[in-house]
Every structure is written in C-alpha cells, then in structure tokens.
Symmetry: C2
Subunit: 357 residues, 2 copies
Amino acid sequence: MTSYITLKNDRFLKALLKQPVDVTPVWMMRQAGRYLPEYRSTREKAGDFMTLCKNPQLACEVTLQPLERFPLDAAILFSDILTIPDAMGLGLYFEGGEGPRFRKTVSTMADVEHLPIPNAERDLGYVMQAVRTIRKELNGLVPLIGFAGSPWTLATYMVEGGSSKDFRKVKSLAYDMPEVIHALLTKLTQAVTNYLNGQILAGAQAIQIFDTWGGNLSTAAYMEFSLPYMEQIVEGLIKEHEGRQVPVILFTKNGSQWLEAMANTGASALGLDWTCEIKQARSRVGDKVALQGNMDPSVLYANTEAICEEVGHILASYGSDSGHVFNLGHGITPDVAVEHVAAFVDAVHDLSIRYHR
Amino acid sequence: MTSYITLKNDRFLKALLKQPVDVTPVWMMRQAGRYLPEYRSTREKAGDFMTLCKNPQLACEVTLQPLERFPLDAAILFSDILTIPDAMGLGLYFEGGEGPRFRKTVSTMADVEHLPIPNAERDLGYVMQAVRTIRKELNGLVPLIGFAGSPWTLATYMVEGGSSKDFRKVKSLAYDMPEVIHALLTKLTQAVTNYLNGQILAGAQAIQIFDTWGGNLSTAAYMEFSLPYMEQIVEGLIKEHEGRQVPVILFTKNGSQWLEAMANTGASALGLDWTCEIKQARSRVGDKVALQGNMDPSVLYANTEAICEEVGHILASYGSDSGHVFNLGHGITPDVAVEHVAAFVDAVHDLSIRYHR
C-alpha cells in the first residue's frame, strides 16, 4: 500500500456509487485533447498519435494537462480504443486526417480463429505502464479512469478496416454469418475483460466502456450484438481493488432508448449523450445506476453566459442528491476556447451546491 | 378534373390515414438513386446533380425509374431539400463528392432580413413543373409524394454553408443569439409552407418533411428550434386537394425519443429510423398517427433470406391492421444490389397479407 491510494478528491467515485457528495463532480470525454495548446505541443513532439499512446511518459503528460488548468474531478487514461485490435495483430495506423485504419481485416471464421487474445501486461504493457505512471504522478489528486471500446464497436473497425459511414461489411457479416460475428464478439469480450482487469490492477479506479457504434444498430441487433457482450465484461471485471469498489460506466452513444436494459447489466453508471433529458433518464433507471452527462459539446462554442445557463438547466433536470457525474454528451471538440472550458467546469461546481444539502 | 386523379393503387394514402388495406404499402427513401444503373446513366446525361433537379423532364424520368422495376406503392418527387435556400439567393452548388455548399451564408439579423421568401411558382417553378410532369406520366399508377426539409435542417446548411459534423456555427448562433435563429426559422417556416402548398396544388398527394438534423439537438433545443416550426408548417398546409386528404409525414432522423410530441403536431404519420422498435413506437403514439419505417438500410447488403427475415420481424412487430407504411429507416445506399431491393419489396407485400384480414 503506497500513500497515493488515499484520494484527496473522491467525489467522482462517490457520485458513481450514489453516495453523498458536496458538489456534482465533472470531467470531460477527450479532456486531454487538441483544444489544449499544450496537448498539441506534446503531440507534435511525439510525432504521430500512436507514438504518443505508446509512450507511457508522454501519455501521462497529456493525461495530466487538463487537470493543471481546471479543477476536474477525474483523470482519464490517454489512449485509444483500438489498442486491442492492434495487439491482436491487425496493424493499426493513422493516415493524415483520415481516421484509424487496419492493415488486416476480419471477414471469415478462420480470420477470427487466428486472432490471439492479448495478455494485458505482455502485449499491452505500454498501456499498463501508462496507468502506473499516471497514478504515481496524480499522487491521489483525483481518481483515474481506465477504458476500452465495446466488443461491437471494436468489431466494426476490425471488419470494416477503419471508420465507416454505413457499416456495410460488419452488418452484412452480422446478418449473413451471425456465427462468425458472435465468435469475434466472444473473443473480443475476453480480450476487453483481460485488458480492463489489467488496467484495474495497474491502478485504474473506475472503468468506462465506450460503445460508440452500438447506437447505430436496430433495437433487436443491439440486444443481440452489443449489450450482452458488455454485460459479460461487467460481470468479469474485478469488483474491488485497493480496498475500494471499482465502478463501471457504460456509454452507448445514441443509446438513450435502451437505458432500462443497460441499467440491468450490473454497471454502476450509464453515460448519456445530449439528446435525452437527464430528468427523464433518471426516472427511467430509478435507483439502479448513477448517470453521467450530458451537455451538448457544441454548447462550449457559445458565450460563457449561455454555457452556464445550460449547465444550470442540466443540473436542475437531474435534481437533488448524488448519482450525477457531469460530463459532455460526447468528446470535447478541437476548436473550443480554453476559457469556455474553465467557465463550464466552474459552473458545474458552483451551481450544484444547492442540490447537495 | 382529369382522369389521372383516379388512383389505381391508393394503399399508401389509405395506410397513412389508418384505413384498411390489402397489404402493407412500401416505398424507399431515395428510391430514385445511384443504386439504379438507369439513374446513373440519366445523371451522367444531365451533367451535375442540380441540373438534373432543375430539368423537369429528367427529374420525372428518374422519379419513375424505380417504379418500372419494383411494385412500389408510392413515387417521390426527385429533388433536393436545398432548393429553398437556393431560391433565397444563397447559391447552392455541389463539389465533387463533397456534398452541398452555399456561396453565401447567414450569420446576422441583417442577413436574415435580406432573405426573400420564394414564391413557389415564380421562384421554384422547375419543381412545380416536375410535379406536374410526374403526375401526368404516373397516370394514376401510385400517389406522388412531395417533400421539403424542416426549417431547422435548412437553417443548419444556411448558417454552416454546407454539411457539418458538429454544427458549430448554427448551434453557437442558437445559443448566443436566439433571436436571430428564431427569425431565420420563422422565415423558413413561411417559405417551406408556401413551397409545399405549391407542390400540393401542382399535384403532390402526400407530403414528407425531412428533419435530418433535428435529432442532433438536445431535447430542450429540439422543442425550441425544430418541432414547433414543423408544427406550424403542418397547420399551414392545404388539407385536402382533388377531393382527397393530403397526409403529412414527419421524419426526424434520430428522433425516436420525441415521438409523443411529434404525434401532437397534427401530422398524419411519423417516419421512424431503424434504431427504435416499431411495436414500442406504436404503443407510444397510440391511434394518433400512422408509422412509416423502419428497416436498417444496411440490411439490404445481406443475403435475400436475411432481408426477408428482417422484413418479417418488422411486420410482426407492428402487428395487425392498417397504419403502417413500410420503408427503410434512412435513404437506400448507392451500392445495394438491385435484386436485393426486388426481394425486399416483394417480401413486404407477401409477408404482410396475414396482418390485413
């Protein structure tokens, strides 16, 4: 047991477990990112994006940058959801402005069978090392969030070979050869579980599962191809570490229709995009889970008065008591002004006092 | 009164009004489109996309092409939602593969004040002429659908100057200067109402309002910037023409959360994307409106057996009686095989008989 196990600020973890807090905690998806000039400078130093991800010292540096500027209540590991398929041998690379690409793709049962299940420390050691380095550097300031992509989301990239507009290949595979896609999802579920447990053992104090593309499925397909695999992951995760519960946040972008089902997976909290009303979401999930979200990231383009007003609306919509972690409904965009972010974070803390008495 | 007022097949109009039909009617958004070799050939003949839209004879030709191949139950005017901003003087153009662009954009109250409200016959005569030509050529085969974009959707293009990923400019404007965006939306509401009434007088027998980007708003913003303006349009439309009711279909992509509110606008039917379950949608809207949708267009990439199975699921999900118009949850994509479309259309008719006894 080292001293950095003691947290100076644990309101993020408490809110996820619906325990009383003084103010509503806040962090932002992609808070270590291009809107920060210091991020752009580290990124330039590193060269390309994957070199930055694979260098634990630099990954730690960018993870901490937003915390030096704003009183955020959590740090999130700087990494990419595609580290797993990369470690499975697909050869991840980024081409100027074009998003992620893979040198190899998956389309047959034989392809799936040949995929190895990575060992977290052996095959993704750079991520584990980054987690350990960040924990040390954070020195108990705030908790560290680890993360992974959902099996369905990872499968879309592995079958398409990169980003996709209509998910032609992965959906054809799902409808034409469901046994192949299920075999792939089963393997990914194992890989993600191992990877996240590795992050927890290395020091991640909460976990977020990013289901970026589950919301593009029909309800029936979501219930077949995305949700059950996330549920298996939640079941397979280490529940407690360093004497603390490790909460899991499930975030399906465009998934607000399925909150009731998501609340039954055993996750501690659900991430919400900005299209749903958090008040309604709260009444739908009841006491089962905490909620995280859900301001439209584009509101950060507006003036600071409008930003504070929107923060106030969302806080009022959630209402009294713990169980709300404030966040954007999606990652912060690259051209937001830093002063707007400062106003946003302060507004959450200042305006939420009245809901925690 | 000319003879082509008599419809040989009116099950589309009947289903929109929840009157008994023999089988579930079906059409596809973007059914006159690039997946058809004959469309690509007409398009090539025309040169660019807007030339095709502006030539009533060619617009009629491509409108009828899918009906010559498949027993579809409705035709939809071939045109673009951006004809209105173009007629308002913004200078619409298309650049190779880059989507629509405008030479002028809107960002101040003065810009809004300078926008003229187009007169349908004088300023958009090519669309009215296309409607008249198509009606004549259809000769009562099936009803003709007219359409327009929603005010919010048109505003996004007019403020951004084209397509957008995060709607930075239009959302900033909405939050920073709500009076400007409301002035723009009010003007667009008038323009769309005039335009759609022009289409009805020219011969459109049903109307669809495409709210492509309303679903990217928060619930509060949707209720402020998109839905009320669509409601005003529905109120302002000609209710009956040629002795028949003119049904209006409201389609907010990614709007399934707001079906109850949409059902209160006076629209006859709501379009559904594929993420929601039509059974659940039906129970939420009750008898107020018919429903149109909602197969994932990507299912058309799967084998014909899988396509028929999915059609069967959706028909069963809606269940018995009229009030369902089968469609995709979004436009058909360019690289779908024509034989798959044929299987899809036939499956809707064949498998739906049992629900209409």
